[in-house]
């Protein structure tokens, strides 16, 4: 089977090269047949990568340890769900995932544009072919996922326990879908530049792909944050880790792109800017993949040194230099059709929003690569989360302010009277919220949080007002009932109103970020059973220790799980019980002893969170296993050669000893206000993005009409 997989990759590499060459040749010589052949080669490419993925996936599911990848990343006792998703936990597997997603997306977009964009599409095909070929070349040349072992081991190493979390298994494909998706508008932008079709056609053809890619990337980032919050045992959701930053940067430039393309569609402005943004976004997506896989920056994600860093760097340089040269070469074709009429106009605010987003991206880029930058000018140094927070917070506040004002101002220019009319109600709402927060809550303790809460209220009021104005205008015109009017309003202009919903989601998310980063209360304490601690209006009592064998509740396949029963009582007297635990995964290192290896391997925190709309109670436990060192050492000596069943009995005895005579354990508790709103905001964001990306009925009608026209034309010419 491995042979089939390898063969697929080699043939796919040749096919990708052929697709690029054929479509280029066809475009240069105006031979349609070659262009069509190049496009079909991309469909074929998708078929080949799907086959290769199926072969690899089947090997994981069958636990075929003759595959090196399967032996390293899976085992027979890995739960099936994690077997199916272990592929992208490995470097080679994630390269295959990139190639798979890219070839499938390319096929879809080329299929949809097969009757339009005759000039641009062949060049886009060539670009997509080259990018896919690069990833295939990496696999064929250096990191073949189908490498086999001469002697298949009886058992695999198993999936890294830290990755055994549902969010973690969906997070990488989501990020990759986002990264890969941006390749599509990039490819068409290149095509537009080469053929001097620098109008808005390439944007219209690919904007839905950009939107979908952006949605996936955003959702992926949020899932990563959720994983960090519930699995890593430190209780935070964002650490300004290089790899987190790497995923955020293309998302920020992508956000800027989605906004500024509207200016190009409407007014024919910002053409150079848009092309630069999509190039930057795609390059940053490549950088994101490169950072995860190369380990050049210290990061929790840095899975050691990689063999393909140099190749990646060369490819990124090629893309960057090539696109820059192309933009400079075509600068005269990218002139604006219009000029900015007024600073108080929709397009000016779009521009401002773009500048803030790009500034954010630059700050994050500088901070992320600071170790390399400082190394180049002197001693290697790095900046920590406080630095990021200090620079990013003011920019985020400005961004939310722009988000509030932007939708209120009209295209071209707005009169002061017109502005006053729309600003009045949201401003009153904001002031009311300010007064209420200062009078009724302790929010004024953090000025930043207070400003963020007020600006968020402003944005929500603006969104509400826009929906109300739109719906009431429909009502006066058509006499529809409120829900019908609102529904049709969304239906008529999905991108605009979906966008407003996204705005609402983002500010709700910011509410959660502001509340939890300004007002969280964290304790770390060592408790013995019976001990009590007070934190953030809660009384926490460590009631007793637990020891569980043969599988934890979350189904991660951990053989041993030590935990605690905590009784949580809030000031109103409500009681709850929490069960934080710690999973222990055996190591195969024989020097730790036959019994010791069960306790000395990887261990992960299984945190327990009481989710709440006003605040979360988060807790993790770290049992002190060193108290069991004596019995474990004794058991190592006595039962070194005992059978599995005897060893199981011994481990059960040790676990029982932990349960009945527990040593003090370390607990971390965090009372975090409003943190749930991050995930709720994420949900609203996703909903809004789906509304915006969903094909509108008009678009469908337009497509049917153009198809009909094309067929009619064909029949007429045939007659």
């Amino acid at each position: 089977m491995a042979g089939l997989g390898s063969a697929c990759l080699v043939v796919a590499l040749l096919t990708a090269g052929y697709a690029a060459a054929a479509s280029l040749y066809g475009a240069r010589t105006h031979k349609r047949a070659w262009v069509v052949s190049g496009r079909r080669a991309i469909y074929c490419l998708a078929g080949l990568t799907v086959t290769a993925t199926v072969v690899l996936q089947a090997a994981f599911l069958r636990s075929d340890f003759s595959f090196k990848l399967v032996a390293e990343g899976s085992s027979t006792d890995t739960p099936t769900f994690y077997k199916a998703t272990a592929m992208w936990a490995t470097q080679d597997g994630s390269l295959l995932l990139w190639a798979l997603l890219l070839s499938v997306f390319s096929s879809v977009v080329l299929f949809l544009t097969r009757r339009s964009l005759r000039e641009i599409a062949p060049y886009a095909t060539a670009v997509l072919g080259v990018v896919t070929a690069f990833f295939l070349l990496l696999m064929v040349g250096w990191e073949n996922p189908f490498t086999t072992l001469a002697v298949a081991p009886v058992e695999g190493a198993g999936l890294n326990p830290l990755l055994r979390h549902p969010a973690m298994m969906i997070h990488p494909p989501m990020l990759y879908t986002g990264y890969v998706g941006f390749a599509i508008p990039f490819a068409f932008a290149v095509g537009a530049l080469v053929t001097r079709n620098t109008g808005a056609d390439w944007i219209r053809a690919t904007r839905r792909f950009a939107l979908v890619a952006w949605t996936f990337l955003g959702t992926g980032i949020l899932l990563g944050a959720l994983w960090s919050y519930t699995e890593l045992g430190w209780g935070g959701y964002w650490a300004w880790d290089p790899v987190e930053n790497a995923s955020l940067m293309p998302w920020l430039t992508g956000t800027a792109f989605l906004h500024s393309v509207m200016v190009q569609e409407k007014r024919g402005m910002l053409r150079v800017w848009n092309v630069c943004l999509i190039v930057a976004t795609f390059v940053l997506a490549l950088v994101g993949t490169f950072l995860v896989r190369s380990g050049i920056l210290e990061s929790i994600h840095a899975f050691g040194a990689s063999t393909i860093g140099a190749q990646f760097l060369a490819f990124i340089a090629l893309v960057l230099v090539g696109s820059t040269a192309l933009v400079v070469w075509r600068l005269s074709d990218l002139r604006s059709e219009a000029r900015l009429d007024s600073l108080l106009s929709r397009e000016a605010f779009f521009l401002l929003n773009n500048l803030v987003l790009v500034a954010l991206c630059l700050v994050i880029f500088w901070g992320t690569f600071f170790p390399l930058i400082s190394d180049a000018v002197g001693a290697e140094a790095s900046v920590g989360p406080p630095w990021f927070n200090r620079l990013v917070t003011p920019l985020a506040l400005v961004l939310v302010l722009v988000m509030a004002i932007g939708p209120m101002v009209a295209w071209r220019r707005v009169t002061p009277a017109g502005l006053r009319r729309v600003v009045a109600i949201p401003a009153v709402v904001m002031l009311a919220v300010l007064v209420a927060l200062v009078a009724l809550t302790g929010a004024a303790e953090s000025v930043t949080a207070l400003i963020m809460f007020c600006l968020a209220a402003l944005v929500l009021a603006v969104v509400g007002q826009e929906l109300w104005r739109g719906a009431s205008a429909r009502r006066t015109m058509t006499g529809e009932a409120w829900p019908v009017a609102l529904g049709r309003l969304f239906g008529r202009n999905r991108r605009r109103y979906g966008g407003y919903v996204v705005h609402a989601g983002i500010v709700v998310l910011f509410l959660g970020v502001a509340g939890s980063s300004a007002f969280a209360e964290q304790t770390d304490s060592r408790l013995s059973p019976g001990d009590t601690l007070r934190t953030g209006g809660y009384t926490v009592t460590y009631e007793r220790a637990t020891a569980r064998l043969g599988g934890d509740g979350a189904g991660t396949g951990a053989p041993i799980s030590f935990g605690a029963v905590l009784r949580l009582r809030d000031d109103d007297g409500h009681e709850q019980v929490l069960h934080p635990a710690r999973n222990f995964y055996p190591t195969r290192d024989a020097s730790k002893g036959a019994i010791g290896r069960y306790f000395e391997g990887e261990a992960t925190s299984e945190v327990d969170v009481r989710w709440g709309l006003t605040r979360d109670f988060w807790t993790a436990v770290r049992p002190d296993v060193s108290a069991l060192d004596g019995p474990i050492r004794e058991a190592n000596a006595k039962f070194a050669d005992a059978g599995d069943e005897v060893q199981a009995v011994v481990i059960a005895a040790i676990a029982e000893r932990y349960r009945s005579q527990p040593p003090p354990a370390t607990f971390r508790t965090i009372v975090s206000p409003l943190v749930s709103w991050i995930w709720i905001g994420g949900g609203i964001f996703l909903l809004g993005a789906l509304i915006a990306a969903w094909p509108s009925p008009e678009a469908r009608v337009r497509r049917v009409r153009s198809l009909y026209k094309a067929r009619l034309g064909k029949e007429l010419s045939g007659a």
């Binding site: 390293e72 190493a157 901070g367 290697e380 790095s382 290192d589 000395e600």
Partner: protein, 134 residues
């Protein structure tokens, strides 16, 4: 003001804001950064009162836990020079002897006193390779 002068003024204004922001970026990053160093750097040339980010491998058999306090030694990635570390706070899940760790703190009388909760463990390079080598 005629439109072209107005535009030029805008451009100058925007550029100066950009330069100012870039200056702030560069200045704050250099002043707020912590210097990365290895155990041999710290042992030979640490200035007192300056914060360092120490990277190295945990020496086998050096880990000693007394309640909340963790004492261990860090050695150079490819060498034997080591420095004792005193640490308090949360120990990351993958912390083990022989693993590469990063910790922030200052050198005080020959011991590297770490900041609370500053310990970071790098993920084992590959889950299996690590097991074979330890």
């Amino acid at each position: 003001m005629d439109p072209s002068r107005k535009r030029r003024l805008r451009l100058v204004l925007a550029l100066s804001v950009a330069v100012l922001l870039a200056g702030a970026l560069v200045y704050t990053s250099f002043s707020a950064s912590t210097r990365a160093s290895t155990p041999s750097d710290v042992v030979t040339s640490a200035e007192p009162g300056r914060s360092y980010e120490l990277t190295g491998k945990v020496v086998d058999g050096s880990v000693d836990r007394e309640g909340e306090r963790l004492r261990f030694e860090i050695r150079d990635r490819d060498g034997t020079t080591s420095v004792p570390v005193a640490y308090e706070g949360v120990i990351p899940d993958p912390f083990r002897e022989g693993r590469e760790v990063i910790v922030e703190g200052e050198l005080e009388r020959g011991t590297f006193v770490a900041e609370r909760d500053s310990l970071v463990t790098k993920c084992p390079s590959k889950f299996t390779k690590d097991e074979e080598s330890t």
